[in-house]
Symmetry: C2
Subunit: 500 residues, 2 copies
């Protein structure tokens, strides 16, 4: 294991090289049992612990969507190639990364036993494995929407999508990934825009309050928009290696897809109008963001609200007699915490020693550990260890049980604040291009700088520094200035960074 950070108390942050973080990440994702590489290039296997984490992410998001009137549905995996081509920008945006089904049968050579696609079973029209579902969904919406009474139509689906990746990374960039994609239809532009922003707020709240990851809400520049969108909103965060990550996006699609798929509605005046649209999504990439926001040299650190195991109890014994008595007590405590709604695991596996277990559950990021040995049994006490600070302390058992929910809340908050301070330290305001270049080269981070608003300048900076405009913050410090590259006038700072 690579030593990444010095043990962190709340306030410390060691700038470290992107390469060191990258190696640490690759190693830790597998060792913590979250995911591993599949034999298909760019695809991953999400292991049970990683899946349990994904379920914890899905639940509150799904509830938030329902609470705001959205309904789940499911649309097909395959999209006829011609559908993708209907919206010109859309096909251009996804053409380079589509998996295409061309045959529907395998043929085995009777002599060599070699298998291959049967040339006699070629599809008349190739099918694209969905990279996103706007086209197939708007084809369906054409039949679902007739009148203003059918609007708004608020649909979400949890699904797998495929985008061929040149440089895959587990969770962060995989050819197949899991996500939710919302697709909504509205009678007015105003309402659709409000929907896109409402979802952005849901994403912001979830990512900050559950994943303890601070984000900046903003709007993408035209060159960074979703293919087919009129406006793309984003939440951006900054990871421990100083690289930015787009954690979720919400798009105002205007009438682009309604026009491409001819979806009109009768308004109350009995006139036909094209429908207004949004789409939005977050994915398993959030797990990558989580790991690269809170990890340390011991492994990952999970915020309590999404940790599949919030508390691990490790009984400690020497003799068989002790094993029974301590084991029983550990189980009792576990049952009691479970009844309180805490996700708890009692690790009484006799194959491993306590020290091994401590390391293992630290690696896996369990927020709190309770250790109980024969002496604790006599004194009715327990040793409590905090994963994110490394603190340990012995408490009376009853006090510990009582305080536990409160501690979990404190940890949740502590992780967020620690990440917030880190990002503050990694955020630089500059008006000098050479300084921006040096910062990006040496430590990455968010660069808040003025920009003249042209795609040419954006491209030039990208080519020279590798940094893109992550977003134009929604709550800008209204501040007049001059473009860091051209010196032309600018009305607010935008967020530059190197990104995943």
């Amino acid at each position: 294991m690579i030593l990444l950070l010095t043990p962190t108390k709340y306030t410390e942050f060691m700038p470290i090289s992107m390469q060191a973080v990258s190696d640490w990440y690759n190693e830790i994702v597998e060792r913590a049992g979250l995911a591993e590489h599949a034999p298909v290039r760019g695809c991953m296997i999400i292991k049970p612990y990683g899946w349990a984490l994904w379920e914890q992410i899905q639940r509150p998001l799904d509830e938030a969507f329902r609470a705001t009137g959205h309904q789940n549905a499911y649309f097909p995996l395959f999209i006829p190639l011609s559908f993708l081509a209907r919206e010109a920008q859309h096909v251009e945006g996804f053409a380079q990364e589509c998996a295409i089904v061309t045959h529907y049968r395998i043929k085995t050579d009777p002599d060599t036993r070699q298998v291959a696609p049967d040339p006699e079973a070629e599809l008349e029209e190739p099918l694209v494995v969905r990279p996103t579902s706007e086209t197939i969904i708007w084809h369906a919406f054409r039949n679902w929407i007739k009148s203003y009474r059918d609007l708004p139509l608020l649909i979400n689906q949890w699904a797998n999508v495929v985008r061929w990746e040149k440089r895959p990374r587990l969770f962060l960039r995989t050819a197949e990934f899991l996500w939710q994609e919302g697709h909504t239809a509205h009678a007015t532009a105003e309402e659709a825009l409000q929907e896109a922003l409402r979802i952005l707020d849901i994403y912001e709240r979830f990512v900050q309050e559950y994943l303890a990851i601070p984000v900046v809400k903003g709007r993408k520049t035209p060159s960074e928009r979703f293919a087919g969108a009129v406006e793309t909103f984003t939440i951006e965060t900054l990871l421990i290696d100083g690289k930015a990550l787009q954690a979720g996006t919400s798009h105002f699609l205007g009438q682009n897809f309604a026009k491409a798929f001819d979806v009109k509605f009768l308004n109350p005046k009995n006139e036909l109008e094209y429908v207004w649209a949004t789409s939005w999504g977050v994915s398993t990439r959030l797990i990558g963001a989580l790991i690269l926001s809170h990890g340390d040299e011991k492994g990952i650190i999970l915020p309590p609200r999404v940790a599949p195991i919030q508390v691990v109890i490790v009984p400690i014994w020497r003799t068989e007699e002790e094993r029974l008595s301590v084991g029983q007590k550990a189980q009792e405590i576990g049952d009691r915490l479970q009844r309180q709604g805490i996700r708890v695991k009692v690790d009484d596996d006799p194959q491993h020693r306590p020290g091994w277990k401590f390391n293992e559950w630290e690696l896996r990021g369990v927020p709190l550990r309770l250790a109980i040995g024969p002496k604790d049994l006599q004194t009715e006490s327990v040793e409590v260890a905090w994963r994110h600070t490394g603190e340990k302390q012995t408490y009376p058992l009853s006090a510990a049980i009582e305080q536990l929910p409160h501690w979990l809340e404190t940890i949740q908050k502590g992780l967020f604040e620690r990440a917030q301070k880190r990002i503050q330290r990694q955020t630089h305001y500059t008006d000098v291009y050479s300084e921006m270049q040096t910062l990006l080269e040496e430590q990455g981070g968010f660069i808040m700088a003025h920009w003249d608003g042209t795609p040419e300048t954006e491209l030039a900076i990208k080519q020279e520094t590798g940094a893109t405009i992550r977003c134009i913050p929604l709550e800008p410090s209204e501040e007049k200035g001059r473009c860091i590259y051209t010196g032309r006038p600018s009305s607010c700072r935008v967020l530059f960074a190197k990104a995943y």
Copy 2:
């Protein structure tokens, strides 16, 4: 809408033609808002109401898997073609129905703007869209299993799979469908066999107790086994049109996949052995089974335990004043039922009249309807209507609210018993081949008959009657007899039927 059955009280069943049921089914699935055909041949769109039903099916199954020690995980959508070929029977079984990805990029012709797979982006090895995941999972298990301490390994995944279908039907046979697939690894044949049977019991209990569908547990004949299995267990049911449906299967895979993927473990004696395996699954096909077990001329009928809406409340009014007072009362009742954990909908939509709503919710199979009008408000009463019997009665409101959970249980039981009686009537014991032929031709149903145990006889009967052996029941009426076709000795009756 096609008139299908005369209004049924508990005991009636009208034999009707398979074609009439087929037309009714196609119509009702779409009209009830469950699903519709996608523009990709054989694929379906699961609409919000259908998806809500699928979630109700997933929840208790997922809980039952967890309660028996299984963990969820996720494996890739794509399987290298060569993997499928490793287990000879397996590839033979699925070769005819595989969707194959051959390209990873789209090319747009600059002149015609036509899109096509980019010939320069052909995959070195084609990828199969998973028809089932044994091969990719056993490839992973090779790294996960080293010692007997790693066993049993009990994995489940919820996923989409693709099997090209020649005669697609919504839910019953679709090219893409959703399912869960369990894959387990064990140290001994005995333990794996027990696992396969334990899962069969979970399936039986779920399908009978939640979907109210009676099933026969049995074992498949060698010719009907899953491709690559040593033994396939099944639960079979019979639908209202007299056709059988395989509702779930559980396979004992022996060491076939362990050998194909070289998965060995060190036993306690430090010897290397091949691992023993099971796999098992149920799918969105269960929704088709549900519809074709309990429907009638008014639409589908959902058993309360899986109904997304268990109770619908329809307020009735003439004047605006009544609308407000009755509406408020309806909402109060709704809130109160919801607090009791009942899934309830108050349909106060002013766009439709009560009669329209009554029909709509009957079509959609909501088990209980409460109607409340201005007069009921004065007398504190409510009209209760039972979907499955058509009965209606007015009750004091407080009594109705109190009785409601009990009524839902009664309906659940009533639906099961009604289906059970129907299947009993549709099950025929015969020793005369010509009678079996006539029965199969005229009314379908289960035929319990003696069979000599040879694949030749099985095939001859299939070719002559269209019926297959659905299963050899696990709890047979041990009864010596003579094969209905050859007259050779037989030790028990097996279950013949025409099937979906």
